[in-house]
């Protein structure tokens, strides 16, 4: 016991000397969460739109107004020809083009179907999908208004047409703020990245520097070395958790509906899995460069993309969906979004929590085994 305490003390001293690293580890999460938290939004507003109104009558101008006044589209200019439309979309001045043909209002008045063309720049798929969605909503509403007016003129004033009116209730995030969904996500990504970096070089560094031999001749056991290595990083991670949670709640005003202590504890559990994954990388790498590449490409990137952070898991092919089950971040996302936005407790989250715990235990055991084999050879 004495040895391990001494060893931990030594590790702490060693890390304290590395001021730059400690500083980066406390400043990076603050700045990054603030900047990236604002950046990560999928709200689509003000899509730059070019209008080519060949008809140019009162009816067509009224129709255009529906587009420009709804808040989703912002007028980037009027086109005088199809060539203008081409150029605007090619140069990214416009992402949507609305084209109203010559006989638009004539057709409307005479009860014929009026043509309307909307062109979207598909190279920005998400904005295009949402933009077309809004456009079709505007068109449907406009159509309905016309039909209803016609109905009144046929049936006489006061006659009411039957329409279905959906009354939308949004749970958990009533204002549909993208930020409420994204900030907890960015927070989890940051924790994952920082803790991985801390431990992934921990052991390979000593190997490279040749100081591992000195450790091995001391009576410290392999698992004690692992614990000693983890302790200071766990503390750094602990502070990082406090920092990012504080920023999320007090800077971004993300509603924390569930229990704060529960969230905090589960953050630490999650941290164990990433610290452990880092250590594991460190025990299977020969040089720090290798460790870095392995950590980035085989752990961090898959975690970033396959955890459901922005890309919904249910849209992935089945094989990849199966693969996502071994990504701890996947469970942590359900936990963090559940506690933050839905206010659920351990009763709903016990499965995810125990899975994380098992992951942490498994990866740490694996690292100790690898490490033992390595120093015995």
């Amino acid at each position: 016991m004495r040895e391990i305490l001494n060893f931990i003390r030594k590790e702490f001293q060693q890390i304290r000397r590395d001021r730059k690293m400690i500083g980066l580890n406390f400043f990076a999460p603050i700045f990054q969460l603030i900047i990236l938290g604002y950046a990560a939004t999928l709200d689509v507003r003000d899509i730059p739109t070019i209008i080519y109104d060949m008809d140019d009558t009162k009816a067509s101008r009224d129709f255009v107004k529906k587009f420009t006044e709804c808040g989703y589209f912002s007028l980037s200019g009027y086109a005088g020809s199809y060539g203008d439309v081409d150029r605007a979309i090619d140069s990214r001045d416009a992402a949507i083009a609305v084209i109203i043909p010559y006989d638009f209002s004539n057709d409307l008045i005479s009860g014929r179907q009026a043509q309307l063309q909307v062109i979207a720049d598909g190279s920005e798929t998400n904005s295009a999908t949402i933009g077309l969605n809004y456009a079709s909503m505007i068109v449907q509403q406009y159509s309905r208004d016309i039909v209803v007016k016609e109905f009144e003129s046929v049936k006489g004033k006061g006659a009411k047409p039957a329409v279905v009116n959906p009354e939308v209730r949004v749970w958990f995030n009533p204002e549909l703020k993208s930020r409420n969904f994204m900030v907890p996500g960015v927070l989890a990504l940051l924790l994952m990245v920082l803790t991985m970096i801390l431990t992934s070089l921990a052991i390979v560094k000593e190997n490279e520097a040749g100081t591992m031999e000195q450790l091995i001749v001391t009576p410290i056991r392999p698992y004690q070395i692992i614990i000693g290595k983890l302790a200071p990083f766990f503390l750094i991670g602990f502070v990082d958790v406090i920092l990012v949670l504080t920023i999320a709640v007090f800077w971004f005003d993300i509603p924390l509906k569930g229990s704060a202590p529960l969230l905090f504890v589960l953050c630490l559990v999650f941290q164990m899995t990433t610290l452990g994954a880092g250590l594991f990388v460190s025990t299977v790498s020969k040089t720090q460069q290798q460790a870095m590449l392995t950590a980035v490409f085989f752990v961090i990137l898959p975690m970033m993309f396959l955890s459901g952070f922005v890309f919904p898991i249910e849209n992935m092919p089945k094989i990849i969906q199966v693969f996502t089950y071994i990504i701890p971040l996947r469970y942590f996302f359900i936990i963090i979004r559940g506690v933050f936005l839905k206010g659920v407790g351990i009763r709903e989250l016990w499965l995810e929590s125990t899975t994380l715990l098992l992951f942490g235990a498994a990866i740490l055991t694996l690292s100790i085994l690898r490490f033992r084999r390595r120093i015995s050879s």
Binding site: L24, L42, I89, T125, M137, A162, F172, L189, M316
Partner: protein, 393 residues
């Protein structure tokens, strides 16, 4: 800064030996990378592997939203209305509820995103020409998916309403009345709106950026940690020669990786390059030079490999993912953040990639982005050469 005057390489005869010295460093770097098979493998093969994996995995098409229906009325009208949802490819019909209490559980653990409730007097309201309310309960936690799904539901109900009114009009003698507007959406460059086409260029930029920065960010600091940098200083290479010698091998490696990525995305994702290949390759080299330079700069600033690693990840990974326009459209960000994105080189490269690959347009559509990339490459390479000078003496 008086220190530099005596910095290494000063006062050497420049031309004839310069190329030879650079060549020596390049040869040494290649040999070193070649010895470390895992590193070489990761740098060349893994980028292509990532494209395959993520190219398939990533998309945010909001199709197959799971939906549950609670029909309190169970009349012909309500069933007809429900059918409108079943026919839509956007919704996957998951549950028919028997009890309103089930809604909590379904939304709480994400078994479905939307519940449509049709109230008891639905058809009664419809027949008497009143507004028929239906209820839509939505899990808003994922706001993007929720917004899109709400849009689809609204469109379906609006269309349904219009159809009913038209039906009534037809009975009262206006049989010629049709849907007033024939709405024809068209999508350019990516007609099926497949996310893969949008995301693959983004992935290319992201993966190249990360690989390039990471491959060089340890290079200088590693040698100075191991004290081998002294050898190079003794060999009297100038900093600029040293930087070039360090950059060229990794540029070659990343370039090979780029070609593999492009071939793979053509074969698997139909992402064909519509524009000029030559232009694409030249700009890729400029971008790579900038990224490798950034890696070298990190390497000259950091004292230990750990700090270099941390800096490399902090500066490239999340910012490139979140601030480059790869996933999150830049124009939706707050203005301050938009300003910050101008410092992210991947932002410019992404515009170039999408323009050349998807749109097939020429350099006049994006020359300013190329200029930015050039400036970035020159600045980081020069600054890291200066830092090298200062560091070594």
């Amino acid at each position: 800064m008086p220190g530099w005057a005596s910095s290494f390489g000063a006062g050497l005869p420049a031309e004839p030996y310069m190329l030879r010295r650079i060549y020596t460093i390049i040869k040494k770097e290649f040999r070193q990378v070649g010895r470390d098979k895992r590193t070489l493998g990761i740098l060349i093969v893994v980028p292509a592997f990532m494209i395959v994996m993520f190219g398939y995995a990533l998309n945010f098409d909001v199709k197959h939203t799971s939906i549950a229906l609670y029909d309190e009325e169970k009349s012909d009208e309500s069933r007809a209305f429900m059918r409108e949802f079943l026919h839509s490819e956007y919704f996957d019909f998951k549950h028919v509820l028997r009890d309103k209490g089930e809604i909590d559980g379904l939304l709480g653990n994400e078994q479905c995103r939307i519940v449509v409730v049709i109230p008891k007097d639905f058809s009664h309201h419809l027949k008497s020409g009143e507004v028929s309310p239906i209820q839509l309960i939505v899990d808003g936690a994922n706001s993007n998916a929720a917004t899109t799904a709400i849009g689809y539901v609204m469109a379906i109900t609006e269309e349904y309403s219009t159809k009913i009114v038209l039906e009534t009009l037809r009975h009262s003698g206006r049989g010629d009345m049709s849907m007033p507007i024939d709405y024809r959406p068209r999508v350019w460059y990516n007609p099926e709106l497949r996310s893969a086409k949008f995301l693959v260029p983004g992935l290319i930029a992201f993966i190249l950026m990360v690989t390039a920065v990471i491959s060089t960010s340890l290079s200088v600091v590693r040698e100075s940690e191991k004290n081998t940098i002294e050898q190079i200083i003794v060999s009297r290479a100038r900093p600029i020669e040293f930087i070039i010698g360090k950059t060229v091998p990794f540029m070659a490696i990343s370039f090979v990786a780029t070609i593999i990525i492009l071939v793979v995305s053509y074969i698997l994702f139909d992402v064909a390059i519509k524009g000029s290949l030559l232009l694409l390759f030249s700009i890729t080299l400029i971008f790579l030079a900038g990224c490798l330079g950034l890696g070298l700069l990190i390497s000259t600033v950091a004292e230990t490999q750990q700090v270099a690693f941390l800096l490399a990840v902090i500066l490239t990974m999340l910012p490139t993912f979140l601030l480059s326009g790869f996933v999150f459209p830049i124009r939706n960000m707050p203005v301050v953040i938009q300003v910050i994105t101008y410092f992210i080189p991947a932002r410019y490269f992404l515009v170039v990639l999408r323009s050349i690959i998807l749109k097939g347009v020429g350099i006049q559509a994006f020359y300013s982005d190329v200029v930015f990339l050039l400036v970035f490459a020159v600045v980081v390479l020069v600054v890291s050469a200066v830092r090298m000078k200062r560091r070594s003496w």
